[in-house]
């Protein structure tokens, strides 16, 4: 943290700006701030051969989901529509968000985009991504001289 002594031309706006910077810095990378902008929430599993991404996506029509893979970038996008039963229904509580979403996830290595498989069951999206053959680690034999 830097304190710059500039008492000569003090301005309340400078103070506000520095406060804003401080607050931004506090939230930058903090879990709370990140969680808001990250929908859907994903869990990632993997080893040297493949990666599995699971996402919580309740109430999404699988036809409204679009999954794209380019090298090591996975993009999940779609729309969650509201389920208001009828126009005359009175809403008492609306906690479940609706709308369009896009999320791009960087994978640890490039994957075979034509072998990616995605399943949607009970509101859970599971994506299977096998690693690109060419990027798999190669064992190098040491020849005796």
């Amino acid at each position: 943290m830097y304190w710059i002594e500039h008492r000569k031309n003090w301005s309340p706006f400078d103070e506000l700006r520095s406060l804003q910077r401080e607050v931004n810095r506090l939230f930058d990378g903090a879990e709370t701030a990140a969680a808001i902008s990250r929908y859907p929430a994903v869990n990632i599993w993997g080893n040297n051969e493949k990666v599995v991404v699971t996402a919580e996506l309740p109430g999404v029509d699988p036809n409204d989901l679009e999954i794209n893979v380019v090298n090591n970038q996975l993009t999940i996008q779609g729309e969650r529509k509201g389920d208001k039963p009828a126009d005359e229904a009175v809403c008492h509580r609306a906690e479940r968000g609706t709308g369009k979403f896009v999320r791009t996830i960087r994978l640890p290595y490039p994957v075979e985009s034509d072998q990616v498989e995605a399943t949607y069951k009970q509101g859970m999206l599971t994506i299977n991504l096998p690693r690109q053959e060419a990027t798999k680690p190669q064992r190098i034999e040491i020849k005796a001289a």
């Binding site: 969680a35 990250r38 929430a41 994903v42 869990n43 990632i44 599993w45 993997g46 080893n47 493949k50 990666v51 599995v52 699971t54 919580e56 996506l57 309740p58 109430g59 999404v60 029509d61 509201g82 389920d83 208001k84 039963p85 009828a86 005359e88 229904a89 009175v90 809403c91 008492h92 509580r93 609306a94 906690e95 479940r96 640890p108 949607y120 009970q122 509101g123 859970m124 599971t126």
Partner: protein, 128 residues
């Protein structure tokens, strides 16, 4: 407001104690003859879910199981799974025998039909 207060400490705890209870998100709609509740329950199967109505208190509870992958390491965890519970006071008289529950794409849809006594009655004004 009361719900909010309940939610907060649970959210804070969920990272540390895996047995903390989650509070699933709901939408509640009221229609003329019924109350509709939608509840987000991704990855919860029918047999891991319990719905009870006791003295006008409706409770949804159960457990969401974590998907397991053999031979794979966990690289990133943005969501946790475990027990969940949510209760509501249902103010109107509900026809106990007429509660419908349906799980569809990870969303629980509860239809609570209002009891006959609770249905609105139209009163006609008689001309003198």
């Amino acid at each position: 407001m009361k719900e909010k207060e309940k939610q907060l400490p649970e959210k804070m705890r969920e990272g540390q104690t895996p047995r903390a209870e989650f509070v699933p998100q709901v939408d509640i709609y009221e229609m003329k003859e019924a109350i509709l509740i939608y509840c987000d329950l991704p990855g919860v199967s029918q047999d891991q879910l319990e719905i009870t109505l006791e003295q006008q208190e409706l409770t949804i509870r159960g457990e969401q199981q974590m998907q397991q992958f053999e031979e794979l390491d966990n690289m990133k965890s943005e969501y946790a799974t475990g027990l969940f519970r949510r209760s509501f006071k249902v103010p109107q008289a509900i026809d106990d025998a007429n509660i419908k529950a349906r799980l569809n794409n990870g969303v629980l849809e509860l239809t609570l039909a209002k009891a006959k006594e609770a249905l609105p009655k139209k009163i006609t004004v008689q001309a003198a």
